[in-house]
């Protein structure tokens, strides 16, 4: 995409604009696609111990001199319970029914859903609504009955923290292990660029692979790996 990849220390607020440190001095920038958590983006406005952020960037943002993609506060969309409202959200904003169906999702805050989830723990995946990186979740079919009991206790003590979904059957690919070729589960993250006029699917993607046998956790923070992604062109 030709966009420079920068760290907090490559950026600075200069004359009310966010500027990037280049070999030709600080150059103002208009749009920042950020990958740093809200709390850490500006030590003057948020977490004062943050070494990752840019002092004063939030003032620039508030003054309207900068667009931040993944605007501060959009973390709410990471809340997995929000997902359950997607069909309503799509209809509200577009006036049309969604084309893609939601994965069936139980919001454990709802007592009926909670009792269903507790009864069917051995077939469901239960996730923390604030969780990411594959942490704090239970993959029911792969868990022992002891693990399921322990998880049910946590779930019932704070049901609003959890959602549940059917366990997806992830595809598998061969990988090279120390004892030879073996199958492992994979998923594919496509990268989709949306503009007012069109939706563009970039020719590529991130194929994540679980390195442990039988595991469905492909997250790199938990030891997941990546595979080359091949895009076949139709002739």
């Amino acid at each position: 995409m030709g966009a420079p990849l920068v760290h907090g220390n490559d950026l600075r607020v200069v004359d009310g604009r966010l500027a990037m440190r280049t070999t030709e001095d600080y150059q103002p920038i208009d749009v920042l696609y950020r990958r740093v958590d809200d709390d850490f983006i500006d030590p003057l406005n948020f977490n004062p111990t943050s070494q990752l952020g840019i002092p004063g960037v939030f003032d620039v943002y508030r003054a309207g001199n900068l667009t931040i993609a993944n605007a501060p506060g959009t973390g709410i969309a990471d809340d997995k319970a929000i997902y359950t409202y997607m069909p309503e959200i799509v209809e509200f904003y577009t006036g049309e029914r969604p084309i893609l169906k939601n994965v069936p999702t139980w919001r454990c805050a709802d007592p009926e859903s909670l009792s269903y989830v507790v009864d069917h723990l051995d077939e469901l995946v239960v996730k923390e609504v604030h969780g990411s990186g594959g942490y704090g979740m239970l993959v029911g079919p792969a868990a022992s009955s002891k693990e399921r009991e322990d998880f049910a206790a946590k779930l019932c003590s704070a049901p609003a923290n959890y959602i549940a979904q059917p366990t997806l059957a992830l595809s598998s690919v061969p990988i090279l292990t120390e004892s030879g070729l073996a199958p492992r589960h994979v998923d594919l993250r496509p990268f989709v660029l949306v503009s007012p006029d069109s939706i563009h699917i970039t020719p590529g993607g991130l194929t994540r692979v679980a390195l442990e046998e039988g595991s469905l956790v492909v997250n790199s923070s938990q030891g997941g790996g990546t595979k080359d992604t091949w895009v076949l062109e139709d002739y």
């Binding site: 420079p4 990849l5 760290h7 490559d10 440190r21 070999t23 030709e24 600080y26 150059q27």
Partner: protein, 314 residues
């Protein structure tokens, strides 16, 4: 225009690679002395360590300049930032952080260099294997340089890479001469005095100049000729004159691209002025040691000024 961090990453990546190669050359020259002398001279190994600027650290770790200790210190010691192992690590880390500025061939050559040398230097190098290992170090870094010359667009990315390489090389040549200056110094007027020719050869070998020198000076080796060759000859690719002119050229290319001159251009002009039109006798008369100390200082000033002008770090 590019990120200041990227320019700094490129500059240091090629400084590290150049230094890695120079360390291998120094060891080759030292080894040659050790092999051709009847008794081992620890003074030679001491001057090798001195040239790399790591004397303090070495003396903290060792009581004396023992050959195998010096070799291991300069090849493999992870605490020594100038050991070959530390340098290839640092060069590759920099290459990773500027990966998108490099061609695939430069990146792969750098990565191969790192993989090969890490495997080679995983264990102490035996005397028997040392010449082969030193050759390998020179070859691996030459491959990266070759990929740089052969595949990179001649833009500011290339210029900052070249600047790092030639700043490091100039510094290295000045240091080698300075460490050996006491051999060069007294004999400039004492024509025909019998000095240790092996020492002359060491100086030339440590900058891979023995053959080139022979092309130019077929007779006996004299201090005058060695110093003139390594300081003033603009055709010798490791001489100060050559390195300075490359530094000036690359700074000029950057000035042209950015349409802007910076203080580092003046520092480079001063550096060129320190040798332009000078005769070697004139440098000897006013003191070779003083000349070289001031050259090393000015090269460091220039590197620092480049870092400031092009915002490598702030």
């Amino acid at each position: 225009m590019m990120l200041g961090t990227t320019a700094g990453g490129l500059f240091w990546m090629f400084r590290f690679l150049e230094r890695c190669e120079n360390t291998a050359r120094l060891l080759e020259a030292g080894l040659r002395i050790a092999l051709t002398k009847s008794s081992e001279s620890s003074g030679e190994w001491e001057s090798v360590v001195l040239t790399t600027g790591a004397t303090d650290l070495f003396e903290q770790q060792h009581d004396r300049y023992d050959r195998s200790a010096v070799i291991d210190f300069l090849l493999r010691n992870p605490e020594n930032p100038s050991s070959v192992l530390s340098l290839v690590d640092a060069a590759r880390n920099n290459a990773r952080s500027v990966r998108t500025a490099l061609t695939r061939e430069v990146w792969e050559a750098t990565n191969d260099c790192w993989m090969v040398l890490r495997a080679t230097l995983a264990h102490p190098v035996s005397d028997r294997d040392l010449p082969k290992v030193l050759g390998q170090i020179r070859r691996e870094s030459a491959l990266v340089r070759g990929a740089l010359h052969g595949t990179m667009l001649r833009n500011d990315i290339y210029d900052f890479s070249q600047l790092g390489m030639f700043v490091e090389r100039a510094d290295n040549t000045a240091r080698i001469l300075d460490v050996k200056y006491y051999i060069l110094l007294p004999s400039v007027s004492a024509v025909g005095s019998r000095l240790d020719t092996i020492q002359w050869e060491t100086i030339l070998r440590s900058v891979s100049a023995q053959r080139a020198f022979r092309f130019e000076f077929p007779g006996a080796i004299t201090p005058r000729d060695v110093a003139a060759f390594l300081i003033l000859d603009p055709r010798m690719p490791r001489s100060l004159a050559y390195c300075y002119s490359k530094i000036r050229d690359n700074l000029e290319y950057i000035a042209f691209q950015y349409d802007d001159r910076r203080p580092s251009h003046d520092v480079a002009a001063k550096l060129i002025g320190s040798i332009n039109g000078r005769e070697i006798e004139n440098i000897f008369d006013s003191g070779l040691h003083e000349f070289l100390r001031s050259a090393i200082g000015e090269i460091a000033t220039l590197a620092h000024q480049i870092e400031i002008d092009y915002r490598f770090t702030k």
